[in-house]
Subunit: 226 residues, 2 copies
């Protein structure tokens, strides 16, 4: 029996990354889940990531602590900046400077250590908040840098950053996840969920999610506050 | 009076980054120093970084905690892997997977928050340990990714990753630093220095440093164990 190839899958506890994990598993990878504890305001995310990892029976779920709050500059890490509840023009206040760059770099380091060549990240450039680090151009540029800046890359074992959701709408993501048996009741997308994972129903992330279930024509298992 | 442009300067507490900080200051930047507490074995590095930042009177010295030890895979973060005391073939055991990618990503995030366009890192591709993430090709690829993955980059305020040491030998770096008044007695290069910053004199990093002072024809202020 041939061993399955290893993959590192970034999971946040949200809907997109849970679906990404389901896709990675379906593609035959031995999945190693990675979450980042970066001082996010929505800390129940990490609980949700644990629920998701457990429900998929991943090989390992690692949580790396990193103090992005020290950098500030985002509504998600700095309590002095409010989470917007109305759509904003341009890149919103919830943008965390260089977040995916930091996350992918850590995923890359771990992939190199465990001998994985594939890194999955659930970015999407449709129905999204306009974050620059969710775009395909960025992902391809990161991949190029990864293959120049690592031992494995230099030695010819190229890394691939896989973004299976990048061209999917929220509704398409939800339909794909439902097909693969993802329990979206475990996931938390809300930027200001309470400690039990109940969502506000008003932030950007909630709005995309509600709309996604509506358009997918599937029941929304999200638990909302009152 | 025109404000000086801001720069983020990565400082480790070692000789190269102290020289880089001196160069950034000479080039007229308002320097914001960044160090990473990544579970490094040589923890006195962070003390040395503090001494260096203080001696230069930087605007701010930020230390961000990040648990690279959780990833493992390097003699610098994993106590189960020995620091080699003989030159090795290829990329050595002290290579920390994706370290500069992680460090530059964090510097980028902070630069974006404070409105700096320039990031200085003291990598050198001469007299070095052969780390792939110290090479110019990697730095340029990272810069390209940075400008695609950030709000500032997308809005046309391009980031520059400045590597003033990249083509300098260790002796040239030391001569340049001496000219700029760097007190190398404050810096710690050793991978296994004691808690007072005294060096082993045997690891890769010590060897390059000793040779550098010899070739520069300057007295070596390093404090050695016994």
């Amino acid at each position: 029996m041939i061993d399955k190839p290893k993959a590192v899958v970034l999971i946040s506890g949200g809907l997109d990354s849970a679906t990404t994990l389901a896709i990675a598993r379906e593609r035959g990878y031995d999945c190693h889940a990675l979450s980042l504890d970066y001082g996010q305001r929505h800390r129940v995310e990490l609980k949700a990531a644990h629920w998701v990892a457990e429900s998929f029976g991943v090989r390992e779920h690692k949580v790396i602590g990193i103090d992005l709050g020290g950098i500030g500059g985002s509504a998600l890490t700095d309590r002095a900046i409010a989470v917007p509840e109305q759509p904003e023009e341009g890149i919103p206040a919830t943008y965390v400077p260089a977040r995916n760059m930091v996350f992918l770099s850590l995923a890359l380091g771990w992939a190199e250590v465990i001998g994985a060549r594939d890194i999955f990240i659930g970015v999407t450039a449709v129905d999204y908040s306009g974050y620059p680090d969710c775009r395909g151009e960025f992902i391809r540029a990161f991949e190029a840098a990864a293959n120049l800046g690592t031992r494995a890359g230099v030695e010819g074992r190229r890394f691939r950053i896989q973004t299976p959701l990048i061209d999917l709408s929220k509704a398409e993501i939800i339909r794909e996840g439902a097909r693969l048996g993802v329990d979206y009741g475990l996931t938390v997308s809300c930027y200001q969920a309470d400690s039990e994972g109940r969502a506000c129903g008003a932030c950007d992330s909630c709005r995309y999610r509600i709309q996604g279930f509506e358009q997918a024509g599937l029941p929304d298992p999200t638990r909302y506050k009152t």
